[in-house]
């Protein structure tokens, strides 16, 4: 019948894992939609793309992003946005700017009024998107145009544009949630120094 596993792991024994079973294929969105996470390592440094989290909404995405992407080193801020709210340019090769490849396919997304947009560049293949700055524009197409004027001389293998109001910005007053990071030495490689013990052991055994 449906026997319960005897595991070496006491947690698993408490969980009551059954031997028999088949997982029903997961339905789409069982893991929610995705949010793109950007973070800033130090004051004054640009925000960089860190990766994605799966989350049911942006508040949860913030909670998740913080521990997945900033549980080490230092962090001074985080931004979160739904993946589909990031508008991307085509991607190019090193000798060409992504701004040269823009077409008019974005025309239909024009908004009625001026909004702020955050602009990001991929400066080299294999790297992360980096925040370049903010432009004011009347739609995505216009935002790319403005971005090109402001940042067009910088390397841009791909450009991302995000409407500022679509981003969740971490609160200035909440920066202290990252304050104790540098003290969590136990998850830092340099906290482990065993050479003294090894040398002592070698000396001890050499004498024998």
């Amino acid at each position: 019948m449906n026997d319960v596993f005897q595991s070496l792991d006491p947690r698993i024994n408490r969980l009551g894992v059954t031997v028999e079973g088949h997982l029903e294929a997961k339905s789409s969105l069982d893991q929610f939609e995705t949010y793109e996470v950007f973070f800033q390592m130090k004051e004054g440094k640009p925000y960089e793309h860190a990766g994605i989290v799966h989350a049911p909404n942006e508040d949860m995405a913030f909670l998740f992003g913080k521990e997945q992407f900033s549980r080490r080193y230092t962090c001074t801020g985080m931004w979160i946005v739904k993946t589909h709210q990031v508008i991307t340019s085509p991607i190019t090769d090193h000798e060409q700017s992504a701004y040269d490849l823009l077409d008019h396919r974005l025309a239909e997304t024009e908004l009625n009024e001026l909004s702020h947009f955050e602009v990001f560049h991929l400066k080299k293949r294999g790297r992360q998107q980096v925040h370049m700055g903010r432009v004011q524009a009347k739609g995505y197409h216009d935002a790319f145009k403005q971005a090109s004027e402001h940042f067009g001389t910088e390397p841009a293998l791909q450009v991302w544009v995000i409407r500022s109001q679509d981003l969740l910005f971490s609160d200035e007053a909440d920066k202290d949630i990252w304050f104790t990071l540098p003290e969590k030495k136990y998850r830092d490689a340099i906290a482990y120094k065993s050479s003294d013990k090894i040398n002592a052991y070698k000396e001890r055994t050499a004498k024998q």
């Binding site: 969980l15 929610f32 990766g51 340099i190």
Partner: protein, 328 residues
Amino acid sequence: MYGGGNTFEPIKATGLEMEDPAKLAEFEARIERGEKIEPQDWMPNLYRKQLIRMIEQHAHSEIIGALPEGTWITRAPGFRRKLAQMAKVQDEVGHAQLLYSAAETLGKSREDMITDLINGKSKYSNIFNYPAFTWADSTVISWLVDAGAIVNQIANAKGSYGPYCRALDRICAEESFHLKYGHDAVVHLATGTPIQRKMLQEALNRWWTPLMHFFGPPDKMSVHTEILVKWKVKMATNDECRQQFLDMYVPKIWELGLSLPDPKLHKNAETGEWEYTEPDWEEFKRVINGDGPCNAERLAVRRTAEERGAWVRKALLSPKATYVTPLA
């Protein structure tokens, strides 16, 4: 933690003639120049398929890899070990998250990957199908399985697919903590009381065969993967990774006065190559195919975790949610 050992099943390098020759040439030239491929680039179907398989197996290896050491999470001795063990197992879950995300950029959803894992359709590193009987087993995993994984992952981080390389850079940085932590814990046992030392030696004996299996069958037995080498998907051969691992870690094991259960193991002074008894590759195949000591438990635990969390996910899912492929 992934050794790349059981990634590549026989592939039919067919279908390439169906690809646009101009695009294929451009794609290959980009890789040749040492540039990364990004998700929005054109890529051949075979490249996409093989990468999904590899990254997915790697991701599964991380989430399943959290279980053997998780066995000791509530029993780690003393504050330093307790905190580090928690952080170490947590990192494995984090790595799974990073790798599933990288695989998603190629078009396979996390839902499908998890389903395929639990229902036995996709593989993960064999080594996690072995039990961690004592605390010493856990320290051996933290040190040597992570060491082996780093050898493979540092090679793969020089591969061609941008999102995978970015995930690997991050993973290797975190695993440098695992490696140091594991070594530190091993050194404490090796230089400690006779009971501690005995516990460690026994664990090492148990893990040696799985560690030799970790990098996969010898090259002469392995599937021909020339096209994957050319496309910088497969970055180092199984034997290269194994040799590198032996070269870096056997001396560190021996300097602690510990032995390894292979009388033939030695470095050939002339060739500079390590020689060893071939581990039992029939056992390797049996375990891959589901008949290892812990295969059933590992998958049942994952299934139970998914089932027990289902109500949480169902309750929070917004009817307005829409999935789009993540960007990078």
